[in-house]
Symmetry: C2
């Protein structure tokens, strides 16, 4: 992008729906505003507004730009705000991206604990339905199931965790017993939507001897809820198991998967002390909570 400032005036024009209106807001001459919109359109090779004597109105391409420009605005505004006070305690906002398994069954407790110790701290958990692109800065740090392939990101191993086949006791009572992997074929199995598997580490099914799944979702949470309600059998995180009391592991000796959580951070942040401290607390919390929950499972 040539000049970020053009986005600022784009926003103003999109809101005012006129060059002159935007000019008033920006304390800039309408002519200047018009020229910069022109420059922006030229640079992006796209028509953002339809001109008329009544003003400027967004095109579809302009509409698409709007939300992103507004997000940029928010980042800028926060930047201006935050560069004020702030003492030595852990405060401010931290945004964590995480696959939805850990986001639902692991992080809530951990984050709540950290927040309790640091009143000024605000934590946001972004449950990701896909691999997190931290280089795009969607969050300050991210939990991932495999180290990032590309980009210069800082990686730190958090902990291993286990997964097993599981179903509700209720389901097992109502269906034929499972004594070997072959028996699985006669059961309803739950898993990822194959097209949407965002990380090969998540392709549990084949490793667990499940071929075609009959119930599929891209959301671990949805899968878990299916299992919970007795819809079938799925690969379940051990640390999630205790979130639904009726669950029992199936063939734990024959099917047992191990995966790893990594904490990914942006290298820029290595010099930001605040985030270093938070990352350390988070890492400790994840390790503690996984081992606690797996002991229960």
């Amino acid at each position: 992008m040539a000049d970020w400032d053009d986005l600022r005036i784009f926003l103003a024009v999109a809101r005012a729906e006129s060059l002159s209106g935007a000019g008033k807001l920006l304390k800039l001459d309408p002519a200047t505003v018009g020229r910069r919109i022109g420059r922006l359109e030229e640079g992006m090779a796209v028509r953002l507004f339809t001109r008329s004597a009544q003003g400027y109105t967004l095109t579809v391409e302009g509409q698409r730009l709007l939300a992103h420009a507004a997000r940029a605005e928010q980042a800028v505004a926060e930047a201006m705000e935050e560069v004020g006070s702030e003492g030595s305690g852990l405060t401010g906002q931290v945004r964590i991206g995480a696959p939805d398994g850990s986001a639902n069954y692991l992080l809530p407790q951990i984050v709540a604990g950290i927040c309790a110790d640091h009143p000024g701290l605000e934590v946001q958990i972004v449950a990701q339905p896909r691999v997190f692109n931290l280089s795009k800065r969607e969050a300050d740090m991210a939990i991932a199931v495999s180290p990032p392939a590309s980009g210069h990101l800082t990686v730190q191993k958090l902990t291993d965790y286990k997964l097993h086949l599981a179903a509700s006791r209720d389901y097992l009572d109502r269906h034929p017993p499972i004594r070997s992997l072959d028996d699985l074929k006669q059961h309803r199995t739950i898993g990822y939507i194959q097209d949407l598997v965002f990380d090969k580490e998540l392709d549990y099914q084949s490793e667990a001897g499940m071929e075609a799944v009959t119930l599929a979702s891209n959301s671990v949470s949805v899968q878990f809820n299916w299992v919970r309600t007795g819809a079938g059998i799925a690969v379940v995180h051990d640390f999630a198991m205790s979130a639904a009391p009726g669950l029992v592991k199936i063939l734990p000796d024959q099917v047992s998967l191990t995966r790893t959580f990594y904490l990914i951070r942006h290298p820029d942040d290595r010099r930001v002390e605040r985030l270093n401290r938070f990352a350390e607390l988070l890492a400790q919390g994840v390790r503690r909570e996984v081992s606690r929950l797996e002991a229960l499972a």
Copy 2:
């Protein structure tokens, strides 16, 4: 903020740790880079870098700015990207903010359903531990438990939902029976951390006749997990109830709360057709799912 473009060069300097290095990246003269950093510091009345003959290094204030500037960069980059193709189908990224109750027990299924119908669609759920500030553009839309007090935001009522006192059957078996509100005093109760209640609509406790809670968290998910594991009694969303089979309502005739979900959007977006369509699907989904789950509870 005076000129957003200064943030772009700030980022380059922070990364290169020198004016000349940044100049190479930006194809700008080091002198220009230096002058613009100077201007930025003047505008914010803060020293971002410590100068030396070896280069520029961030001050603590500069560190704080870094993460925000990077987020702005991400927004800009996405903006440039997305303004390309995209057909008539529902595609692209949509970010939803939601209180963690709905984020955990309501949205996953709904969003998975919508995604299934629209392959090109990416949805992010931001589980908020506090009231969502949509005017700060943390998300494209947000679910809230009360209409926003300030700001010119678009509000749309989604649906009413119910809450009741609940505990696990297990817990009830092990403790004295509850026949009236007075009996509650002899039980362990779970609720919000009073200091951290971000919305008075969430102050269930007093309305439910619970005075001091003995187990508290700012996270509904954590509270729910306490209830599930038989730690005590709490106010629980009806639509979450079926997520843990062993739960039973307590005194449903005497204590019954009703709250409302609202969908909040930024007025800018009213002209963005893509988000309008998504919002409509989301609203339908929430209504359908709440009534389905409440029937089960």
